[in-house]
Assembly symmetry: none
């Protein structure tokens, strides 16, 4: 029987992850030492390894955590009655996320995870699955809209999903770099992209 409850264990784990997030954001994965995380989190070296088998596992934990948020996005987008509204909601949610200063550290670590994904198979898997999840969400919305006659039938759902995800990623990069990204200026451009896919009927479902 465990001496500490599952909740206590999870709290401790999160305490370490929170500290690691600060360190990773500030110094990068590779320039963060386990000693840094220990200092920032207040747990001991030994305890760190009671919760994560290797330093690498801490990095992977971040990549995996993000997956959950993407599941949530999907649920919100699909819950919209109108698929066009669902697409716009997705775009809106991404925008809100980008504006949220509290998530800056997470974004900075996320960008590093993108680079790590190039050579770390576990992170690659996590990133690619996340990409697939978001794309599936988008493609399902588009197919629903095509079935409803709101998006032109010749539109390729994959082309749209990949382009839209590219925009999302690219915006995260700019925000992570500290660029003064004016989302209210980009929004119309992105919505214009969606607009280009619509049939006359589709346009009617967008509120002025």
């Amino acid at each position: 029987m465990p001496k500490i409850s599952e909740a206590q264990r999870e709290t401790r784990r999160q305490q370490i992850l929170d500290a690691a997030l600060v360190c990773f954001s500030r110094d990068g994965f590779h320039n963060t030492t386990t000693a840094d995380i220990v200092r920032e989190s207040g747990v001991s070296q030994g305890t760190l390894y009671l919760y994560f088998a290797t330093k690498d596992d801490i990095v992977v934990a971040f990549a995996d955590d993000r997956r959950q948020r993407e599941m949530f996005l999907d649920a919100v987008a699909q819950s919209e009655q109108d698929p066009i509204q669902g697409l716009l909601a997705l775009i809106e949610l991404h925008g809100m996320s980008l504006r949220d200063a509290k998530r800056l550290d997470g974004r900075r670590v996320g960008v590093q995870a993108w680079a790590e994904a190039l050579r770390n198979p576990r992170i690659h898997a996590s990133v690619v699955e996340g990409l697939a999840t978001v794309r599936a969400t988008i493609e399902r919305l588009i197919e629903r809209a095509q079935a409803a006659g709101q998006i032109r039938p010749e539109v390729d759902p994959e082309g749209v999903s990949r382009t839209l995800v590219a925009v999302f990623h690219g915006m995260v990069l700019q925000v992570a770099w500290g660029e003064p990204l004016d989302l209210s200026a980009c929004g119309p451009v992105i919505r214009g992209m969606i607009d280009g896919l619509l049939t006359a009927k589709g346009r009617q479902s967008i509120p002025a």
Copy 2:
């Protein structure tokens, strides 16, 4: 007083950079040792330091090299008589670059540089300047198109440039990750985005 000619020196330098590119692409910046580069390049450990003061300088050299390509893009885009054609040419050039398998290593290293830019001031400066260069190119084209009545006056050039650059970056990510990105499916979506900016007159300048 140098005993070797400037040309010899440049050849040697490039030999090191070529080797480093292979290593960085394969293992990442941080998991590449100077010994790896030495092995791959055939120069000696000592010689490496005759050409680059630190390992970090090799990384920075890649970031700086990219700047030159961006200058070239600008020249091509601006040389088009019609600014709308210039925009489309820019998009086309990026697409061709993405399709070029020979540049895969460069793209993989580029993505790593994006992550490095978060904490390495020199790389950050280089990346941000590159971003500014491309954006300036796009914004100049848009402003010219607005002056010519081809793009609606209320369009915000910065919003467009940031969004377009975001798409470019996002596509690079997907290609770097090995995603089966079908550019011919994405092209129409991106061009649709441009199309949404145009006036009736602007549309006339696009060939069928």
Copy 3:
């Protein structure tokens, strides 16, 4: 005040020692962690330290355990009426012990204890005392045989005891290493060594 009986305590202690024997035999003293012993024994980390003050004490416990077996050997050997028969019985007992596959773990741990004895004073003391015990047994037999005119008076009991013990130790080594030691081939050689010590009268006491 102990809340468990002495018998329960001894059972627990033995449970730990049995587990340690398996671990030590498999991985060696130094490559066995207390966690290994905990896993193998089923007791908890904390409990381990209720029975042994340090990991080292577990090692010492093995060395001490062996002493008891050596006492037993002495009793058997001395109980023989004829000292020559006693010597041969001693040799026979060692041979039987070596043939006993159940004692393999013990032998492997014993060999490690020999190495430990070089730098661990407690183990050194234990090993050296064990050596002295066996030698005393042998020397007493020889002296009795000399008094009875069975062994030549010029034979040095210490030379014999040291040589005989050396053979015993060396055989243990070979068996521990997994060598295919044919004891029935070695027996005659060792008995021949004893034979060389005997007087004509001594030889009469050996059965054909």
Copy 4:
């Protein structure tokens, strides 16, 4: 082209091994840190790893070194005209080696290698091969003596070789433990063992 000569490299390597021998003899393999060897040898941590890939390789180097000495023993033993003389020479050489105080560290490390051989495959291989070498030497002498009618034909060469090697090993143990081993007292016992193998003709070849 290497910057240092093979001889210089070998000197350096030996310098490390000499230091390691002192440390291993004093503290044992497992209680010797690479820092200890560095301190004792005067080379730097980094240099240590220029000559030995791991700490374990240093240990293995000792085991391998011993093999060479055993080759030498073989050569000496076989060079004797009379195989009985060869056997006695072998015993004599071992005795002389045991008496040599300068080799005490080597013996102490050797005993540790015997224990290591139980779980380290490389050391096991080295030890077992050494054992086989010495045994082969002995068995060849015995077979030659049997062919010459000096040793009784029913004597099993393997039984003799294993027993004799066991005596050698056991004596090394006693000396390593610091026991006051009087070899001149043991010599007659061992020679008596050989004597027991001989035919009348064989006995003639031994000088008084």
